[in-house]
């Protein structure tokens, strides 16, 4: 029961989904789509487990006054805060939707213009309320700047990692370094400053051209082959999992 049944489920469902890829019979696609929906819903339910894990670990730290416990309290506050304002937003959106469907119904029934105008106003007000409230504030003023700034740390890290790693220690490292430097320069307007007049009157920008060539040919070849290898590895791994040859999560 504990391992046999799951192995069977994985194999059966996996093979069915592979079949679905080749077979265009409507009921097969319908069943497969339904299975995907089940998967998506199961994943959504699992989020409860994740949130509980986060809450448990941090609550314990706060209760036991472990190192950095005030920060863990901030984390818990942020979580509860966002859940509550999210719920509030949901409520407002439902209201706006109700107002809107009331308006549509009213229009369809051919009610008096004054009544329709009132409904339009009510609907507009509900929409506006849903659009401007604490949830949007939290989203645009807390969530967005934090995520955009975290992302933008990369601008600094590409510089520091390049400085450290691009050293001509051997042939491989030198190729990496040369390709990176050429592409970096050829990509920005500075690279276009170097110009050569060809005999037929056209202007040739060598750095831009080399950048373009590197990206179109050697880079495309490398990317293509790495992707092909990865696809083969993916087939191997996927089939190992589906056939139950590798099933670390069922060994307990």
């Amino acid at each position: 029961m504990k391992t046999r049944v799951p192995i069977f489920i994985t194999a059966f469902v996996g093979i069915f989904m592979i079949l679905k890829f080749f077979v265009v019979t409507p009921w097969v696609s319908a069943v497969a789509d339904e299975l995907v929906q089940w998967g998506v819903i199961t994943l959504a339910f699992a989020i409860i487990l994740g949130v509980l894990n986060l809450a448990k670990i941090n609550l314990k730290a706060v209760v036991e006054r472990k190192t950095d416990w005030p920060y863990k309290a901030i984390l818990l506050f942020g979580m509860v805060f966002m859940m509550s304002v999210g719920g509030f937003q949901w409520h407002l959106d439902m209201r706006a939707e109700e107002a809107l469907s009331a308006l549509t119904a009213l229009e369809a029934s051919g009610a008096a213009p004054a009544a329709v105008a009132a409904a339009v106003a009510a609907s507009g007000e509900a929409q506006a309320r849903a659009a401007t409230n604490i949830f949007n504030f939290a989203f645009t003023r807390i969530y967005t700047p934090l995520s955009a700034t975290m992302y933008s740390l990369l601008a600094f890290y590409v510089a520091s990692a390049a400085f450290r790693a691009f050293r001509a220690k051997n042939l491989h490292a030198t190729l990496l370094l040369v390709a990176a430097v050429l592409v970096m320069i050829g990509r920005v307007p500075v690279g276009g400053l170097l110009q050569v007049d060809l005999s037929d009157g056209t202007i040739w920008r060598p750095l831009v051209w080399i950048q373009d060539w590197l990206m179109t040919w050697p880079n495309a070849a490398g990317q293509r082959a790495i992707q092909m290898g990865a696809a083969i590895g993916m087939i191997a791994t996927g089939l190992r999992v589906i056939f139950g040859i590798e099933r670390p999560y069922l060994k307990g």
């Binding site: 265009v24 990692a161 790495i226 590798e246 069922l250």
Partner: protein, 338 residues
């Protein structure tokens, strides 16, 4: 004639007929709604002397048609590749079972994983493992979890704790199972510490910020990233570098590989990453699947070269000449089958 009828009625023959028709029908690129018509005409070409004298035979052929109608012929290349792989795998697996050995070349990145765990043991610090940031629907995540099983086993043998940070709840629960099972298998169930299994929200950079915190405050001696990574790859690897950890990465995302190569000590590239769990497990069937992948490449490369040669000859011959067109058709067929 009677013999032919009984032959047709057998199920195997029906499938063979369908297969022949698919291959014959694959020559022109046809739209899905034309499938039936084209196949019907092609079938006559493949088996011209087939005589449909009475109802039974036409019904048999009709069922073959229906089979074809249901089959998405556009997906034929993938089907052929898949069949090749499965056949190779079964052949190799049988050979392995009979006592044959599968030997693989050395991969520095694999040894590095073992060394990284050893170093954490020496320093008395934990190992941090991240199975990528994608959900379980990505096969890269599955590959990462397979590697985690071995990492957790080795770490349990060395009595070194493993911290697993995940961005998805389902991945978290599966990783919990994996680490628990591996610790048990290594004879040290106490090496599974529930509090070391962390979920750090589904948002990409919140997760990254949380992992940064783990790296700098819990000071893992080794960081192992195996799975699907996006732009956070470099943030993780740079923070790991500052914290002084040994870093071993592996991913199949081509756009992130350069950053791991630049900032980590070892990186498993593309297919190496998928093969890593086979290297670590050393189990015959798993090794056989890696070897089968090699064989698949041995099929693909000659086909690609044949295609290049044929299209080159075709392009060198005068345009519109008979052989040029034949070769062009041949390459098109090659592309559509494989």
């Amino acid at each position: 004639m009677n013999r032919a009828l009984t032959f047709l009625q057998s199920r195997a023959a029906r499938l063979a007929l369908a297969g022949a028709a698919i291959f014959a029908g694959a020559t022109p690129a046809f739209a899905a709604d034309e499938t039936t018509r084209v196949l019907a005409s092609r079938l006559g070409e493949v088996l011209p002397d087939l005589q449909l004298s009475d109802g039974i035979t036409s019904a048999t052929v009709g069922s073959a048609y229906r089979l074809l109608e249901d089959f998405n012929v556009v997906k034929l290349p993938v089907f052929v590749l898949l069949i090749f792989f499965v056949i190779f795998f079964f052949v190799l697996n049988r050979r392995v079972r009979k006592g044959g050995e599968v030997e693989l070349r050395r991969l520095p990145g694999i040894n590095a994983i073992e060394e990284a765990i050893g170093r954490a043991t020496e320093m008395g610090r934990p190992v941090l493992f991240i199975p990528g940031i994608n959900d379980i629907d990505d096969i890269q995540t599955l590959a990462g979890i397979n590697i985690l099983a071995h990492v957790a086993y080795i770490a349990a043998e060395y009595d070194t704790p493993v911290i697993v940070a995940t961005r998805r709840s389902v991945v978290l629960t599966i990783c919990e199972e994996v680490v628990k099972a591996a610790s048990l298998a290594a004879g040290r169930p106490e090496n599974y510490i529930p509090n070391n299994m962390r979920y750090l929200s589904d948002e990409q950079f919140a997760f990254t910020a949380g992992v940064n915190g783990i790296m700098l405050r819990e000071r893992p001696a080794s960081c192992i990233y195996q799975g699907c990574f996006y732009s956070e790859s470099l943030i993780l690897a740079e923070t790991g570098f500052v914290s002084g950890a040994i870093q071993v990465a592996g991913t199949a995302n081509v756009s992130q590989l350069p950053f791991f190569v630049a900032a980590c000590d070892y990186t498993l590239i593309g297919e190496e990453f998928y093969a890593a769990s086979a290297y670590l497990s050393k189990e015959p069937p798993v090794l056989a699947s890696v070897k089968a992948a090699d064989w698949l490449k041995l099929v693909i490369m000659p086909v690609m070269l044949i295609g290049v040669v044929a299209i080159t000859i075709s392009a060198s011959l005068p345009a519109g000449s008979e052989w040029s067109l034949h070769l062009e058709e041949f390459v098109r067929l090659l592309k559509e089958i494989l």
